[in-house]
């Protein structure tokens, strides 16, 4: 069977239909089948059904995603309680260690995103990976900084990514490769993401699953949970009515 690809981190104004159509068209040209439309604000996604219909015109499955920022671990828990059932994917932007630790152990978090480029701002260490491996969250690697940075800054980021990916793989934490871009010109195809991941020593077959199997499994699991038939992990309603 032909491999399907997903980019779970496209950033644009979801209310801007022209930009959405441009990005969907390019994603479709690149061979993606699933894309994640990201918002920072739970109230700003607009009409997700309209986006889904637009995506369908380009042969894309649109996934709604929220990038959550929190001031503290407690703040993150409160936000998750409020928004978890409204989005198919929840990513936490880990800009402090307490938030990163809470996000890694909370089973409602899907993706751990470390946006900082300095190694001091990146908290994906062995402890973080240990917590994430017991939860359901994956490490997300955005390719955008590698495209916009150069020189020592990019070298430093590659060094951090190499270490983080090695830790994630040793602790069985899934890795997701995403573009994280907001402009059409910076969008890249799945083969380009895989090629760029070789810069931080992710081997070809693992990198392929980071843009295909891992994101698809994650979305399938979450859609199952958000379905009205879901009761608890492993339990779902098969049939209702008198005949049961």
């Amino acid at each position: 069977m032909r491999r399907r690809f997903a980019d779970l981190h496209l950033r644009f104004n979801p209310r801007d239909e022209t930009q959405a159509a441009q990005m969907f068209e390019r994603a479709s040209d690149f061979g993606y089948r699933m894309i994640g439309v990201t918002t920072d604000n739970a109230n700003h996604l607009g009409d997700s059904d309209r986006l889904r219909r637009l995506g369908k015109d380009f042969g894309l499955d649109v996934v709604t995603r929220l990038d959550l920022r929190a001031k503290s671990g407690g703040d993150l828990v409160r936000s998750l309680r409020r928004v978890r059932r409204r989005f198919e994917l929840i990513a936490v932007v880990c800009d402090s260690k307490p938030v990163a630790r809470q996000a890694a152990k909370d089973r409602r978090v899907d993706l751990l995103n470390f946006c900082g480029c300095s190694y001091r701002q990146r908290f994906f260490d062995l402890s973080e990976a240990g917590l994430a491996s017991k939860g359901l969250s994956a490490l997300e690697v955005d390719i955008r900084p590698l495209l916009v940075m150069e020189g020592p800054g990019r070298a430093g980021l590659l060094m951090s990514l190499r270490r983080e990916v090695a830790i994630a793989r040793s602790m069985d934490v899934p890795v997701v490769l995403s573009s994280g871009v907001s402009e059409v010109a910076l969008m890249r195809g799945p083969d380009a993401l895989v090629a760029l991941s070789s810069l931080f020593d992710l081997n070809h077959s693992s990198a392929l699953s980071c843009v295909s199997d891992v994101p698809f499994c994650m979305v399938k699991r979450n859609r199952g949970k958000l379905s009205s038939k879901f009761v608890a992990p492993g339990i779902r309603i098969i049939r209702e009515g008198k005949g049961c």
Binding site: L147, A185, G189
Partner: protein, 95 residues
Amino acid sequence: MRLFSSSQVGGEEILAAVWRALEKLYGEYGASKAGLGLMEFDEKERCAILRVMKGEVEMLRAALASITKIGEAPVSLSVLRVSGTIKSLRDKSSV
């Protein structure tokens, strides 16, 4: 390889940009191993055929992906097909 850009870009400019990207990512030693060459560039179709050593295809893919601008023009380069001979490349992709 296909070029996505709203501006006019020539073949020589593309080749220079790819060399620069290779040098930035892998250094002069790494770039020298690529054996890079521009075989053809169709300005109308915005498709080019690049030559690279067999074992260095991934290196070229990464370099192409890292190019965001040629001159002042924002660009994006994507690989359409990889093949061992130009004949089979043409058969596969009708470039």
